[in-house]
Amino acid sequence: MSGNPYQTSPYRTSLRTAADWGLVTLALLTAAALTQPIGIKDGAILSWTADPIALLFLVGSAFSVVGGRTAPTPAKGAWVELGGAAMAWLLPFHLLNEGVDLSRGWGLWLYLIVATVMLWRVLGVLSAVPGWRRSLLVPGLFGLGLLLGWEVLVRGFQIPSVLLPPPSAIAASLVKHAPVLWDDFRQTVLTSVVRGYVMGCGAGFAMAILADRVPFLARGLLPLGNLASAVPVIGIAPIMVMWFGFDWQSKAAVIVVMTFFPMLVNTLAGLQTSERIQMDLMRSYAAGYGTTLVKLRLPNALPFLFNGLKINSTLALIGAIVAEFFGTPVVGMGFRISTEVARMNLDIVWATIVVAAVTGSVFYGGLALLERATTAWHPSMRRR
């Protein structure tokens, strides 16, 4: 290879590189795995040799490591090793189908630890390659790995589904209960959250503009804002239900209480960010309050406005769901969670949690995209 000792590729196999010790460890772990059973079938211990398919998977993974390490480029090798790791993680599904009890199959679990280390390495190699691999594939594989691990551990160790169902059961429940979940989504998100969010953020924004013109309002309201941010939702939600009834109005009221001050505080802070020199410039143009606000101060405040909107997007969803615990027409995500937990129907509860999490992420992500589009000029957003 090259004469310069600092230019040896850490990827190529050679006895002195640190990567080899990783390889040796993998080999030792695999050897140890071979001595252990892979599960219990019909009361008898199942060894690797008793199931030719399992052995085939193991050999396949071993070959993929050899293939990966001798591939022409690290990225190509990573693909081969990814195949080996995937093979390892598919083996437990084969065994579960055969009715094997995996909970004491230490050989299998060791094999899966080896596969996880391989996946770790693959992700490390792929995340060094810029482009779609780094931005989409790596987080995708990471998430998939987590889901697979969850599924295999829950099913392998036979964890009761009341405690934690496997992701496949949650997915099945999502499909099975889709009509109910859609009704809940419509009630909680499309009705309560959207209306409460628009009212709360709108009122906070309008009050900030007013407080900007009338200084005593800002002085009086800001301490209240600290107070309001410390008020627990759980405390005000039942009161709002008493005041505004069971339907969306009480949920919207809770959301308004929760979102008003974050929006007010952020807008006020944003309006202060214009520099003296920029304000003098507007003054030299004989621009009035409104013109200065629209042409200078609000654009400058945009990063702060989006900060408030993003914080409020999560607060609004939490507020609506919690408020539904205290009274609602017989529909809504909070209602669903509270009643189905009591009836031990945990699969639909988990499905509702998934819907809420996805909704929150999409809401937040949408705002972040909008922010990126409208504040591309801001130093924090500029491409380096």
Binding site: E275, I277, Q278, D280, L281, M282, R283, S284, Y285, A286, A287, T291, K295, L296, P299, L302, T375, W377, H378, P379, R382
Partner: protein
């Protein structure tokens, strides 16, 4: 003296401005008398704290004097500001980062309510004036510091003011860029016949650009000397900096500054 027919563009008599600082009053300006005529290029020079920027801000109605009288084009500074009779160039470019170069230059015109087609035409004219044609669609952070300051000059010119007020516009730039911009500025001034008031702390810059140099001194901020630069030709090239006339004026400015300066504070 060139173009001193008619009433002065800016006239200050007994102008004072006192800040009330925490412990004692600060005399930013004390009994300032100054007349600026049409077509003048006036430099205000002096050490920091001598009130040169304050005087410029009083002319622009960004500060109010505590006593004395000042007129701008025969009216109060506030009336002049509301009629948008001057263009002001600040120490920093103060461009709006969310606007392209072209839309930055069009900003004052938007505020005045100038129709869009004319806004674009005027912006194109002024960008050509400062040598930035072709940069219309760039954003400010994509430009060098010198280019940004040229955009801010184009923005001030877009108002088509007769009076251009400039507060150390090139203070933050390197010397090579500054020489280049000074040359462009003096050519622009000669071409357009505008009246300029220019704040600087560089003697060479003041002598190179000005028809008259106002030497100021701090505590209290006052005028020490007003130096005519008639000995220099109205058309300035970088070469005149080597001439004896240039050296003589520069020497007089330096003497004036020395007189007003005490190193004990």
């Amino acid at each position: 003296m060139p173009g001193d027919a008619g009433p002065p563009i800016v006239e200050a008599r007994g102008l004072s401005l006192v800040y009330q600082a925490a412990d004692k009053p600060v005399f930013a300006l004390s009994e300032v008398d100054l007349a600026i005529h049409k077509g003048d290029f006036i430099s205000l020079i002096g050490p920091s704290g001598c009130g040169k920027t304050t005087l410029l801000r009083v002319i622009a109605d960004l500060e109010r004097p505590t006593s004395g009288a000042i007129t701008v084009e025969g009216m109060t500074p506030e009336q002049a500001r509301l009629k948008r009779l001057y263009g002001y160039v600040f120490q920093a470019p103060a461009l709006y980062p969310w606007r392209t170069v072209e839309r930055n230059v069009m900003l004052p015109l938007e505020i005045m309510g100038v129709p869009k087609a004319e806004r674009q035409a005027r912006a194109a004219d002024q960008l050509a004036n400062v040598g930035l044609t072709g940069f219309e669609k760039k954003f400010p952070w994509q430009l060098s510091g010198g280019m940004q300051q040229r955009v801010s000059i184009a923005r001030a010119l877009a108002l088509q003011p007769d009076l251009l007020l400039m507060d150390e516009p090139f203070g933050a730039l390197d010397e090579i860029t500054r020489d280049h911009l000074n040359l462009q500025l003096t050519q622009l001034w000669r071409r357009t016949g505008k009246t300029c008031v220019f704040v600087t702390h560089s003697i060479a810059e003041a002598v190179f650009l000005s028809t008259r140099i106002v030497v100021m001194s701090p505590r209290p901020g006052r005028i020490l000397d007003i130096i005519d630069c008639d000995a220099l030709p109205r058309e300035r090239t970088l070469d005149i900096r080597e001439s004896p006339e240039f050296a003589a004026i520069a020497h007089r400015v330096r003497e004036g500054l020395k007189e007003g300066h005490s190193y004990d504070d």
